[in-house]
Amino acid sequence: MAPKLQIAHLGKSFGELRALQDINLVVERGKFFAVVGPSGCGKTTFLRIVAGLEPASSGEVRLDGRAISGPGGDRGFVFQTDNLLPWRTVFANAIIGREVAGRVGPVERQRTLELLKLVGLEGFENYHPRQLSGGMRQRVNLARALAIDPQILLMDEPFSSLDAQTREIMQTELMRIWETGRKTVLFVTHQIDEAVFLADRVLVFARRPGRLRESVAVELPRPRTLAVKRTAEFVRYVDHIWRLIEDDVRASVIEEKV
């Protein structure tokens, strides 16, 4: 399959601190990649570099063969916090990426309305963010990124601020939405079960310096439902990934205490 995203010898340093070291990676078109790792492994920095929000210190990132040098409308970023504009309605928030690109005609409006319907917000187009629950706000966050019809969707722990039940609902919702368009996705999370449930491939990061430890192919059949989380195969994947990062997680927990 054609590579959508190619990353070669990517490195990032913040002064003395080496946040990322020699990341090499190929993401095929239409695949769902998850990135897991302990806090401080540079997984969010990695995603921000791909988004162009942060410059790389070395190496390069290519999207459809073109080296990226800054943010752009070919990538849709779903933020950890919803970052909705409080003075805009749900619809006006969702269409803002199109506005930035300078094209807001009937076609774009129609597509944005359809996306809001797809993420389950039909009838809420004229609500303001303060009138929505956390889960609904994250749905707008997702619709906003999808509305620009990006080549790749970059998701930075989008469900981490939600309660456990809402998070599970949002995971299945994301799977349902993803099945309709099969966008290429890079999804950062600190939850191993979330990564295994969603992804075709889980990239396990290690810390100090942040690097790619192992790339785990998840061969669970699709479409997946929450029931898959109780299968022995699913648990085996989770256990395997947990063992890869266990020592790192313990080390980071002790550091945070100090």
Binding site: G52, L53, W87, G97, H128, I148
Partner: protein, 263 residues
């Protein structure tokens, strides 16, 4: 009081009760005032009763005097306020955008904001004459600084996360300004403009006291010279009413323009 009958949506419970309590409080105060001026002071040279004041307002309105003074003060206030608002937003923007501009302007803004510039009114009258422009200048001096300080603060405190969200779509700095920074500064700018109302009204009247041909300050000054307490209080009451009405209108505007700041 007309507005109490149709409160803004979402405030159906709170607003009428506040208005009723406020109205009772004002009525009780007026009653005490009336009784005090009739029974305790009982000298029209020292205190006018509310009934006399309202009669004076009606008399001034009848003769056309009230409108003449009010319109002059209103024009002075409106001109000064409009110029100061525009200039204040521009200065605030310049300070938020450029660190150099901020360093250059900050000492002047801070210094003049703290200075009782109203004391300079006689000087402005010497420069510009006793017509409206000396008062306009006083109003500008009083309104400009809260507006520019708030505009700068509002633009500067724009959420970095919201800016980054827009940047992720490849937005230009111009798009970031108009789609994020400016709207998120609007509540601050409105708060500065609201502060400016009271300061501007005081500026108009005090400047008129120092020297003018007409205006509510003139009315108050000439009534004081003639020991006409009802007319003096009439001028004060009309001013207070204007201040309350303008501030209430502004609060209504805030609810309309920036409802997200109310939760």
């Amino acid at each position: 009081m007309q507005r109490a009958a149709e409160p803004a949506p979402g405030r159906r419970i709170g607003l009428p009760r506040v208005h009723v309590a406020g109205a009772i409080s004002v009525l009780c105060g007026l009653l005490l005032w009336e009784l005090a001026s009739r029974l305790v002071v009982a000298n029209a040279l020292f205190l006018a009763a509310p009934s006399q004041i309202f009669a004076a307002i009606a008399g001034l309105a009848d003769s056309g005097e009230l409108w003449r003074h009010m319109s002059i003060s209103a024009v002075e206030f409106a001109l000064g306020y409009a110029i100061a608002s525009l200039l204040g937003v521009v200065i605030g923007y310049a300070m938020a955008e450029s660190a150099t501009m901020k360093r250059v302007l900050q000492p002047w803004i801070s210094g003049l904001y703290a200075t009782p510039t109203i004391a300079l009114a006689p000087l402005f009258i010497l420069w510009l004459g006793i017509g409206i422009w000396s008062k306009v200048l006083v109003v500008i001096f009083l309104v400009l600084f809260p507006v520019s300080i708030n505009t700068e603060a509002g633009l500067r405190t724009t959420s970095e996360r919201l800016i980054e969200m827009l940047r992720s779509f490849g937005a230009t700095s111009r798009q970031i300004f108009f789609k994020v920074s400016l709207p998120s500064a609007v509540p601050f700018i409105l708060a500065g403009l609201k502060l400016g109302i009271g300061r501007g009204l005081i500026g108009v009247v005090v400047a008129e006291l120092f020297g003018s041909r007409a205006g509510l300050g003139r009315l108050i000054a000439q009534s004081a010279d003639a020991f006409n307490m009802p007319d003096l209080f009439a001028g004060v009451i009309v001013l207070a009413a204007a201040g309350i009405a303008l501030t209430a209108g502004f609060s209504w505007l805030e609810n309309r323009l920036v409802p997200w700041t109310k939760d």
